[in-house]
Symmetry: C2
Subunit: 456 residues, 2 copies
Amino acid sequence: MINTLYLPELREMLAADNSDELGEFCIALHPARTAEFMEGLSADETWLVLSYTDSQNRVQIFSYFSTEKQEEIITTQDRETVSLLVAEMAPDDRADLLQDLETHLLEDLLNRIPAEERRDYLRLSQYPEGTAGAVMTSEFAKLDANLTIEQAIHEIGRQSEEYETIYYLYVLDGEDHLLGLVSARQLLEGMRKPATKLLDIMETDLVTCAPLEDQEDVVDKVARMDLLAIPVVEDERKMLGIITHDDIIDVVQEEATEDAHQMGAVNPLDETYLRTSVLTLSWKRGIWLMILFFFALLTAFALELYDRNLTRWVWLVPFIPLVISSGGNSGSQSATLIITALSRGHISLQDWSQVIFRELLMGLLLGTGLGILGYCVAQFFPGVDSLQAALVVPVTLLLVVIAGTLTGSILPLLFERLGLDPAMMSNPFVAGIIDILGIVIYMNVAIWFLGVPPAN
Amino acid sequence: MINTLYLPELREMLAADNSDELGEFCIALHPARTAEFMEGLSADETWLVLSYTDSQNRVQIFSYFSTEKQEEIITTQDRETVSLLVAEMAPDDRADLLQDLETHLLEDLLNRIPAEERRDYLRLSQYPEGTAGAVMTSEFAKLDANLTIEQAIHEIGRQSEEYETIYYLYVLDGEDHLLGLVSARQLLEGMRKPATKLLDIMETDLVTCAPLEDQEDVVDKVARMDLLAIPVVEDERKMLGIITHDDIIDVVQEEATEDAHQMGAVNPLDETYLRTSVLTLSWKRGIWLMILFFFALLTAFALELYDRNLTRWVWLVPFIPLVISSGGNSGSQSATLIITALSRGHISLQDWSQVIFRELLMGLLLGTGLGILGYCVAQFFPGVDSLQAALVVPVTLLLVVIAGTLTGSILPLLFERLGLDPAMMSNPFVAGIIDILGIVIYMNVAIWFLGVPPAN
């Protein structure tokens, strides 16, 4: 996904040391786009281009590079100038970058940045991946409750460059306890009464989150309340940081990818697909393939138990994949529906009886449909020579599809009840369980309609 | 998911006609929370509670009700007072609500609201679901380029109640063509030079989207640039509306659910799980189950072709589910990885050769692993009486897993290349294709190692 449009021009400008045009290139576009156009440059070239703009703009463009490119620059370029840039990064971006570095490089960089930024990094890096603390930034606009609207506006105008957002301004006491929130909107609207104190206009019923709270729960709060940012507070509302809307969008995308991977029986990746090594990927997949292999082995043993039936009625064999895939597919569908509905908050555990009743109904409908198809198809198979024989496959399909919809809905609900992530009920896992059920149902329906064959 | 905490108190207050406490209840909390506490009330009770607060606050709380509850209120309460509320709703929320109503009710309501709001609804409702136009709001803060910062701040303070966000202010010419953007941040920072004209500080390199653009592409732009809102423009940058960060989060969640459903072989739902009827759900699942049924039927015919082999070597039969599920599962994993990486923009079509090479490698690794397991297991099966026989299952597993990883990666890439949604390559669909491949590979490996059995 490298945009090569500007690369030749950029290289020409570098060769000619054209500082006017390079400076202009760095400020003309949104920093995200500037970063995009530079992705194809080498680390050396990139660093050189960035030397043509001021430090504030340099940090902005740098923050939009991929972590891969950021790391390459950090490790290859002059340590002293690099550390100046690191010191100026937004705390959450800085923490994301530094935590992946090798220890000796990290220590060297930390020693070179000011003590305040160093402490800040050490505080942020203590929160585990996936918690609110790990995505928050510690830079937010703080105000005193006794400021007037006019004073607040001047204060904000003075400090605003430091903060990720100045649209939510937090009112804290002397010990950083969160007292309330004043929005930039309130300040602008309040311009008609500039002497009003923040104390009198601030919102005090605030939605907050704890630093160790699951980032998925934080997303739910922000999404439900349409917030621009959410404060992260410790005991007694001591404020640690905020999570802004742009980070929330990143988290939503990350969580959706993670859920999709789990549902597809892949352990979630820490990096993007191409940046994860083949060995790591194989491990994250292999562990599930092995579990599923043992399920399939159970199915093999189940079939082995019935080998007399299969030898007597050989025409049963070709329908084995049909039977187990019909059960597996309807089970995967149910699991997908229930897992996504749980994770979006569209259903909760209290709805279990309604959910199971609906899945039972759908199983009946879908199973009857597939059963009718199965009956028509069975007519054309050699060996299916009686009404009894023709009924084996359709009746099996009906029962197997019902087993599928019930298993596919009950398992995720059960996982949710046990406090586990329902997305761990991957579709192949559900399908694996239904495979065994399917074989047992198939063979018993066959015995029911056709009788037990005599021992050889 | 109904919060019943406050219901008894609310009903008591209503019985006692306690206007002080009811009025206080309506304004004390964030409207989203107030709405949450009211979800358990009947439509009549809800409407009565809302009568105790002013119209602006009433609309805010109402907007946070579920569409279900909104519709119930609209259809059951006094048409005239209801239409006043509808007229005051945010244009995008209003469009979402009205488009689900029955025609005669919709027409009656449209006739009762002011002409401007009516035209606005008709304009918004023309954009198909899933486009930028369908999620945008037509109310945004517009300013003239010749205003000074001071004038702009006063203008905003005066008008701000009308707009969903006043943090991005759009500079338009007399014919609504978008000239630039001034952020509230720029205004607050610019307070030191209040006579500066907007013309001199506005950003002109803006990221915009077209009304018929896919909402997924809009999300990508906003997420990449960390925007608060994105303008929707027609030809010649005529501005139609904006999409704000909160709607973007909703879209991300919606699209993720849709992708998950497609990957689980369920056609995307228009409503939440519980609000979709069993019949509709059965249809959205049944159509896929039928397609997959015919795949499985092909597998059955493939097995039928080899029935001489299966009669001669009955011990091959129990391994059928093992072979096809190993292929299907590794294929589902690949498809999941490639589809999510494509939709997140982590890979693109240009990376196809790298992707396929990696999947081939993983197929080799995973297939070898499963093959070794299969070799160990095969030893214990009665009928497996030679080295040749013991090698059939492991060699098949190796080949089938490679076929799985290749099919699972090539199919989504192919769909992307053809301009189709790669998520349509559902995991069961990929698994269905690999089932057939798996049977053909299994039987041919058996013939290779064991020879062709004589005709009966």
